[in-house]
Amino acid sequence: MEFTLLQPNNQRCANGLRWGILNVQAPTTAELLNHPLVQQALEDAWADSLADDAARRHQEGGWVYADLGSGAITTRRASAGATANIGLDHPPTVPGAVVVATFHTHPNPSAEGWDPGPSTDDMQSAFILGVPCLIRADDGVHATGPDSRRGGLAGGPGFPP
């Protein structure tokens, strides 16, 4: 039996148990990209990236968390990155929650020859960190890395072991 994480809080399963207690599968990339809070976080990061300002454009990003009790999705922002890189390897601890994805922007324009999609480093770091990597670029949203948090929701706060 499998339960998805993106259910209304406190919803009960057919057997009467709270779904969150039984759930061990982390949300998938598709589920996260459909979540309004994740979509908003991507758009906020995009706006803060100043993509239209050639002199000041830079990467922004952060982390997506799933609460282990309720399944609620929350996000946190990282410090601003550089022109074409950002450090997302030290997520803040959110009590009772684990990191289920990272997100960041690719603000440099495709029209000037920049590749809007995931870089080789994006893909490699996503598999090292063990969570999906969500990207907002000028041609839309991209993803790379594992389809969901490695090992499910186990493994304690932060990234999976």
Partner: protein
């Protein structure tokens, strides 16, 4: 032994001049230069494997030092 008109150092200098304009700061990157059949491949990759982002990738003609192709990852 064949003496190439364009050395690895020359190819790197050509790539670096372009990369600095686009990326402003190349300190986070490790660079690899390799001679392939189509020219010098100059590839920048992040030193920290946990970091998100990307670097530039070039093919530099080994006889003219012209940039044959380039790809800006981010």
């Amino acid at each position: 032994m064949t003496i190439l008109p364009v050395t690895a150092a020359h190819a790197l200098a050509v790539a670096q001049a372009d990369a600095l304009q686009a990326y402003r700061d190349l300190a986070p990157y490790r660079v690899q230069v390799a001679l392939e059949a189509d020219g010098w491949h100059v590839d920048y990759q992040l030193k920290d494997p946990h970091r998100k982002g990307g670097g530039p990738h070039y093919v530099i003609d080994a006889t003219s030092a012209m940039i044959v192709s380039k790809r800006y990852e981010q």
